[in-house]
């Protein structure tokens, strides 16, 4: 067996993964799933906090799921508490903005505009849109983290 060839194949493997990672990341920005704030998060990650991004994003997932459930319940009431709805959407807007989940943030901004109208049907549609965008970005981020794991496992380093 030619050890040198094995070595260069292994290098190709890592480079390929790294390229995949760079391309995938770029596509998430191009499609506005993520914005500059996500870059800021990645730059905060270092040897002292190697899982910082995953931790913060996990908090975002938990937060969003909780808020979406609470909003669904609130909009299901006979007498909708629009102050509560507005406050919850504001929170969701804040956390999506903090991690750079741009499409979720935009969906929240639209939602808040409809809150003012106090039209429950429109609010329910807005919530569906927020949930839809959330599920999309969740999937994208999970793919991203998986690619990063693969790069690191193959001995490569993550692009900064």
């Amino acid at each position: 067996m030619n050890v040198e060839k094995l070595g260069s194949d292994a290098m190709d493997g890592v480079s390929q993964l790294q390229k995949q990672l760079v391309d995938y990341t770029a596509s998430l920005f191009d499609e506005a799933f993520l914005d500059e704030q996500f870059n800021q998060l990645q730059q905060l990650q270092d040897e002292n906090n190697p899982d910082f991004v995953v931790e913060v994003v996990s908090l975002f997932f938990q937060d969003t799921e909780r808020l979406v459930n609470e909003l669904a319940k609130a909009l299901d009431q006979q007498c909708v508490d629009y102050k509560f709805v507005d406050k919850s959407v504001h929170q969701l807007k804040g956390s999506s903005s903090s991690i750079g989940a741009q499409r979720v943030q935009r969906a929240c901004i639209s939602f808040r505009n409809f809150c003012d109208e106090q039209n429950v049907e429109w609010c329910i549609k807005c919530l569906q849109q927020v949930k839809h965008e959330y599920l999309l970005v969740k999937n994208k981020l999970e793919n991203l983290f998986e690619l990063q794991r693969q790069v690191v496992a193959a001995g490569g380093s993550l692009p900064r």
Partner: protein
């Protein structure tokens, strides 16, 4: 984006302090985690609080101040308070007022953060004595500016 007050009475509080102690107040766990990292990256010691009441307790201004073990008179001296504006219960503005009205903490600079750029809100906070107003989400460059501004702020 930030706006700053010229009526500061803090003298370069971070200039002579190796590791400034910052109290960060925000009801969002995500934002507390972020601000903590941003500040520790610039060699600050950070304490976080999830609401105004807890913040006041930590500063020794709470209702239990007589029994509080963590008052500012002890070795946990706070050099800066940075607080979110929109919080349930006590807003950042109300927290700012309470700090500025106190005899022991009124010299401590208070920075207000908000995700919303509302001129009235900004003016109100600056008039009440806030050192700076900063727009969220905060970035490392914002915290650097904050540190620089406060280091060079002499009354």
């Amino acid at each position: 984006m930030e706006a700053s007050s010229s009526s500061s009475s803090s003298k370069g509080f971070m200039a002579n302090v190796e590791q400034p102690h910052v109290l960060a107040v925000d009801d969002s766990l995500i934002d507390r985690k972020l601000i903590e990292k941003l500040l520790t990256n610039l060699s600050c010691k950070v304490t976080t609080a999830e609401n105004g009441a807890r913040a006041l307790e930590f500063l020794g201004l709470g209702d239990q101040q007589h029994n509080s073990l963590e008052s500012n008179v002890s070795n946990s001296k706070v050099n800066l308070v940075i607080t979110d504006y929109c919080m349930p219960g006590m807003t950042g503005y109300e927290l700012l007022k309470k700090i500025k009205e106190s005899s022991i903490m009124k010299e401590v600079p208070v920075v207000i953060m908000s995700s919303e750029n509302v001129p009235n809100r900004i003016d109100k906070c600056l008039e009440e004595g806030a050192q700076m107003f900063m727009l969220k989400p905060l970035r490392q460059s914002d915290i650097k500016k904050l540190r620089y501004h406060l280091m060079n702020c002499n009354s």
